[in-house]
């Protein structure tokens, strides 16, 4: 049986190789053997670079018809209060040139405070919360801003290796102004003791790039007698579009 010590040794070896190679990586590796499920699911050939064509320099449009204003509050979906640490998560969605991504869809999903997902394949013996589903949506505002109200998810066990635990995280799904900017990622919480042990987090081998997935505790977002606040900005790839798109 593969142990955490085995996985940690693999992670450490890949980290050393990266540090001594001297080539900076900014993204996530697709081929990262400590995450066992990636072994047969990563492409072996380099992507072919193309100029965006046809629909690719554009994104689908989402609007008021798609997303209701209450969908950004994950604590009011079942009539009662979910158990856990109530918090706000807020930030901005920017493109690679620092421009706000306006009026675009943000989707989130997460485990409950006990680390349990509403999914039939998650059968670990932590309680489901009858007052918590764990999915939310919003549209960014004119400044690229988003804000969700939710509860802090718990860490949860998985079967990558014996006694494997994922750090607490919220899944984020983001669109830009171009199809080519599509991003699905995970937001983490500062200081999580599971970071060093987690092959999914460590699959971003550059420590500074990895840190971009960690939210910051923000006392200005925290509300007295109500909830804590975390801030997390998201930067998509550059847009290939010309400034003409501003007229849309």
């Amino acid at each position: 049986m593969t142990t955490q010590a085995d996985i940690s040794a693999e992670i450490a070896l890949l980290a050393e190789e990266y540090a001594s190679a001297g080539v900076v990586e900014t993204g996530v590796r697709l081929d990262y053997p400590p995450y066992r499920s990636s072994l047969l699911r990563h492409p072996t050939k380099r992507p072919v670079q193309v100029d965006p064509e046809g629909v690719e320099p554009w994104s689908p449009v989402f609007g008021e018809r798609d997303v209701g204003p209450l969908e950004a509050d994950l604590t009011i979906q079942r009539g009662g209060e979910p158990v856990g640490e109530r918090m706000k998560v807020a930030g901005r969605v920017l493109d690679g040139d620092g421009r706000p991504v306006r009026r675009q869809l943000v989707e989130v999903w997460q485990a409950n405070a006990a680390g349990r997902y509403i999914h039939q394949r998650d059968q670990h013996p932590a309680p489901l919360d009858p007052n918590f589903i764990g999915m939310g949506r919003c549209l960014t505002d004119d400044d690229g801003g988003y804000e969700f109200t939710t509860i802090k998810p718990g860490p949860y066990p998985w079967r990558n290796h014996h006694n494997a635990w994922r750090p607490a995280h919220i899944h984020f799904s983001l669109f830009g102004t171009d199809f080519t900017q599509r991003l699905v990622t995970q937001m983490y919480f500062p200081g999580d003791p599971l970071f060093a042990l987690d092959p999914i987090y460590q699959s971003i081998v550059d420590p500074r790039a990895r840190a971009r997935l960690v939210a910051t505790y923000d006392h200005d977002l925290t509300e007295a007698e109500w909830c804590t606040g975390y801030r997390w900005d998201i930067v998509l790839t550059g847009s290939a579009a010309t400034p003409l798109e501003e007229e849309e």
């Binding site: 900014t26 993204g27 996530v28 697709l30 990262y32 499920s37 990636s38 072994l39 047969l40 699911r41 990563h42 492409p43 072996t44 992507p47 072919v48 670079q49 193309v50 965006p52 046809g54 629909v55 690719e56 689908p60 449009v61 989402f62 008021e64 018809r65 798609d66 690679g96 620092g98 869809l105 989130v108 999903w109 485990a111 997902y117 509403i118 999914h119 998650d122 589903i133 999915m135 949506r137 899944h171 799904s173 199809f179 080519t180 599509r182 991003l183 699905v184 990622t185 995970q186 999914i200 699959s203 790039a209 971009r212 997935l213 930067v235 998509l236 790839t237 550059g238 847009s239 849309e248």
Partner: protein
Amino acid sequence: MTSPQTPGQTVGPFFAFGLEYDGDSALVPPGSPGAIRLHGRVLDGAGEPVPDALLELWQADADGLVVQRSGSLRRDGYTFTGWGRAATDRTGTYSFTTLSPGVTRPGSTQHGDPPFFAITVFARGLLDRLFTRAYLPGHPHDELLASLDEERRATLLARADDHGFVFDIRLQADDQGEGETVFLSHSGTQD
């Protein structure tokens, strides 16, 4: 000024309740005028089906025009938005009901740009999204297709069947180094 981009992470195994929704894969109602099916399987490096993948489809309308209309998340049955989402089932099969995209920007080149379905792939075990194109058969004049050898080119060609098109996606080559779908990066995106 460029800011460092936020890295991707896998969708993991539990995306169903977060990303799937009623009508996600039906860009038009099945059986409506012009409706076709785009379907296929997602396979791993051993040729085994991937039952926990999610595909997103983004395409032009039947006239080859880029659609900029909302309503993909709450479909009214009449508005074509050009975008949809389909998870694979336990056999690794996905299926969209949609329209056949027209030739984009007619007249922009001698032959027009050949129509394709732009597809994004997500899966448990796949650490970042992948982009590809499913080209409709019968439009040979394309810069990307022309740049690939025959084995690789074939992975980007959808095949016609009785109800529309079949397009399989193989995430990883077999042990002969063949069959892997051509995935794309885009100039201008640092990808």
